[in-house]
């Protein structure tokens, strides 16, 4: 089962390594990982997506809690969370097909950030479904490169995530 883990950690050198090391040490692949500062300068938030069964997931979170540098762990797997990711697509675009691609980008409210002789670079944000939908459509034109930031997530309700 896929889990979105949101981990509030001390903003200090080596902390990311402790968190990811602990997860990978138990044999789990991290599908997506982001880290960045929070509203509190002494804290960072790590958002990691891992696949694990319930028992293993419980062990991971309990072990993460034991790390001195970890303050709080939230599971944002359920629907009550907003998930976002930023993707850059470099799509093959001969001059005569640019219009079609730009149209698709507009439908998804994505931005054209660079235009080359034979390619377009498009910046898009959204959840997994939207980004996958764009990717499928761009594939018909040929995708030269995709770069993803990794997912971030936040709970929808007023409860602090």
């Amino acid at each position: 089962m896929r889990h979105v883990l949101s981990v509030l950690v001390e903003n200090k050198p080596g902390v990311l390594s402790r968190v990811t090391g602990l997860i990978s040490r138990r044999g789990f692949n991290i599908e997506s990982l982001t880290v960045g500062p929070t509203e509190d300068a002494t804290m960072s938030r790590v958002t990691a997506i891992v696949s694990a069964d319930e028992l293993a997931y419980e062990q991971i979170t309990k072990q993460l809690h034991k790390l001195i540098s970890v303050h709080k762990i939230s599971d944002l797997t359920n629907d009550a969370a907003i998930e976002r990711e930023l993707v850059l697509f470099k799509v093959c675009a001969a001059p005569d097909r640019r219009g079609e691609i730009i149209e698709i980008a507009n439908v998804f409210r994505a931005k054209i950030v660079d235009v080359g002789g034979s390619s377009l670079t498009i910046e898009a944000t959204g959840d997994e479904n939207k980004l996958r939908g764009m990717e499928d459509l761009f594939r018909a034109y040929g995708i030269k490169e995709i770069i993803r930031t990794g997912k971030i997530a936040m709970s929808r309700n007023s409860k602090e995530a």
Partner: protein, 643 residues
């Protein structure tokens, strides 16, 4: 021959010899000998360190602040080994009149010594080593302490901050290397955070579930001037161990215990760390609950007690394992359901409900889901359960159950005199039992290495009080026992410390004989010499068709001569009639003493549960009802090759 016991260290001849040896290592100088002499602070121009209180607000170097911090934490002993990047810290340590430094002969030895000291005393063990190889040599010791929840603070020298990451001479990323085996670690980045780091490190090491904490100190930081302020408070919002058990769960546990017909207390190292022996005994006696113990829990409950069922698991007693198998309620106290205890999980206490008490929430449900989990400090939780039972009134109903386990204990004893004893050979169980009889359980500590001798010791040496049996339980570190015994002897100078070793294990840290000799540590080493790696041989015999792949050692070295080379007293025995007197001589010897006991190569540890089998499915146990013979192994039950 070292017979002068009373005076620690400062052997003049020893000191000189050391200096020439140690200069071979880095540009480091050696201060051994002198560090242990009182009055070293009288040297000109050196401030006398009287303790942190007088140093408050004083300007000093980072290195001096490291030592002042240790003094502020009440540290009396540091085990270590100097080197280039640790010189400044050692130079500051040279001035301390409060801290005695014990120079090991290998950094791994230093960590095990600090570990043994910590296990024997309950205090935090402190290690100081240099960067690079000095630091990496501590890894096995740190991992050993981590697995067995032993509080250590390990201070490593590091290359100067400016060259970290450049593959500088004797640089190693020790914080990275040890990350999976420390409770926490620090790479000091500035002198401002130095004292807070040390205060936190000691707090983290000894509170909650204890464990090793590493502090990496760059040498340029140690040279920087700073103003010393030692914090009194701890500000760790993310680290708040739960001590008090949830009241509702405690009530539920008491209620469940009240209804139990066949309860068993399953006790581990947590009971010793929590200092819960009295509460444990009170609960066991009040409800009449038989007590089984893991290797780490040995000593938490008196072996002579009628409710004691001794060790369990792969080489546990048949009666202990049977009690778990037939139990309807297992009360797990500070245990982690090690695979060496549980055997095949589905066969472990299959008819029992489980109450699991542990201070580490990650242990609860890790291996088996309990019906009643309680997170917190065992001592207080057991006391609360007892209070609840007393308050609500209680009629013990476990009489028939206690009778049943007593019958099992009579039927399957761990040892039966004369059974299979070759009159020409020394029987390992007999050695352990004779040693056990000669030791006062209240004023002795038995430390083991790892292997067959460890199991024989666990089965046959009676321990009555906590912290009197030290062994590497989780990591199973050969080479742990001997240095740990030295550390225990430093921590408990009024106790007799005996290390039960194997000829394989002892060779892994035999260099520490120098540490014992020079410091006149009166540690006794009893070598169960079978000239092979007995435990592995046993598996090869049972599961690998007797193919003894690289497990047969030899008569080399002559351990008696080896010990004598370190100026120890030593002797060897090989026939049963020599044993008693030799044990007496060993225990009466005033200094370090090695007794080499030659035993047969083909001895196995019994009973044994084959890997992958249920724990009631053992073989090799003595069955008195069958005329006191060892029960043969049923071939198809053994799962060869499984770990």
């Amino acid at each position: 021959m070292s017979t002068n016991l009373s005076k620690p260290a400062a052997g003049a001849s020893g000191g000189a010899a050391d200096l020439s040896e140690d200069t071979a290592c880095v540009e480091g100088t050696n201060t051994e000998g002198a560090t242990n002499i009182e009055g070293t602070a009288d040297r000109e121009g050196v401030a006398r360190v009287e303790g942190a209180a007088d140093r408050e607000g004083a300007t000093m170097t980072g290195a001096q602040a490291v030592i002042a911090s240790l003094e502020a934490e009440g540290v009396e002993l540091v085990f270590g080994y100097p080197g280039g990047q640790a010189i400044r810290m050692y130079d500051a340590l040279y001035d301390s009149v409060r801290i005695t430094h014990v120079l090991a002969r290998h950094e791994q030895g230093a960590v095990h010594e600090a570990d043994g000291y910590a296990r024997a005393t309950g205090k935090v063990g402190v290690v100081m080593v240099t960067s690079g190889p000095g630091a990496t040599n501590t890894v096995t010791g740190i991992a050993t302490a981590y697995m067995d929840s032993v509080p250590l603070v390990v201070i490593t020298g590091q290359v100067p901050r400016a060259v970290i990451g450049t593959d500088a001479f004797q640089e190693s990323d020790i914080v990275g290397i040890t990350m999976p085996v420390v409770k926490h670690s620090y790479l000091l980045q500035s002198t401002e955070e130095l004292t807070r780091t040390f205060h936190e490190a000691f707090h983290i090491a000894k509170t909650g579930r204890p464990g090793p904490v590493l502090i990496d100190v760059p040498s340029d930081l140690a040279a920087e001037d700073m103003v010393f302020h030692y914090p009194t408070a701890i500000n760790l919002p993310s680290y708040r161990p739960t001590y008090k058990g949830n009241a509702k769960q405690v009530r539920q546990a008491a209620e469940r215990i009240r209804r139990a017909q066949r309860p068993v207390l399953y006790v581990g190292g947590g009971a010793i760390i929590s200092n819960a022996a009295d509460e444990l005994r009170e609960l066991a006696e009040l409800v009449q609950i038989p007590v089984v113990s893991t290797l780490m829990g040995k000593g938490a409950f008196p072996a002579s007690h009628e409710l004691s069922l001794g060790p369990i698991g792969m080489h546990g007693s048949k009666y202990g394992n049977m009690a778990l198998t037939e139990s309807d309620l297992v009360i797990a106290c500070g245990v982690r359901f090690s695979d060496r205890v549980t055997g095949r999980l589905s066969g472990f206490a299959p008819r029992a409900q489980l109450i699991h008490i542990d201070i580490d929430p990650a242990e609860i449900g890790k291996v088996r889901d309990p019906e009643i989990p309680i997170v917190g400090d065992l001592k207080g939780i057991l006391a609360a359960i007892v209070t609840d039972l007393r308050k609500q009134g209680f009629e013990p109903s476990t009489g028939p159950w206690v009778c049943q386990v007593s019958e099992w204990r009579e039927r399957w004893p761990l040892y039966h005199p004369g059974l299979g004893d070759d009159p020409a050979q020394i029987v390992p169980e007999v050695v352990m039992r004779r040693l056990s009889e000669k030791l006062d359980p209240y004023s002795s500590i038995v430390v083991t290495e790892v292997g067959q001798h460890q199991m024989w010791a666990a089965q046959n040496i009676m321990r009555e009080v906590p912290r009197s049996f030290l062994s590497s339980g989780g990591l199973g570190t050969m080479g742990f026992g001997f240095p740990a015994a030295i550390g225990a002897a430093f921590g408990c100078p009024d106790k007799t410390v005996v290390c039960v070793a194997g000829d394989g294990s002892l060779q892994m840290n035999s260099q520490e004989m120098a540490t014992a000799a020079i410091n006149r540590v009166p540690v006794k080493v009893l070598v169960m010499d079978n000239r092979c790696l007995g435990m592995v041989c046993q598996w090869q015999k049972l599961f690998y068709q007797g193919r003894y792949a690289h497990t047969l050692l030899s008569d080399i070295p002559d351990f008696v001569k080896l010990a004598q080379a370190y100026e120890w007293d030593a002797e060897g025995v090989s026939s049963p009639d020599q044993l008693d007197a030799a044990l007496d001589r060993m225990l009466a010897a005033p200094g370090p003493y090695l007794l080499n006991v030659r035993i047969a190569r083909d001895q196995n540890v019994y009973p044994m549960v084959a890997p992958g089998a249920a724990i009631d499915n053992s073989f090799g146990e003595i069955d008195v009802e069958e005329g006191a013979v060892r029960v043969a192994r049923c071939e198809q039950e053994a799962i060869g090759g499984a770990r």
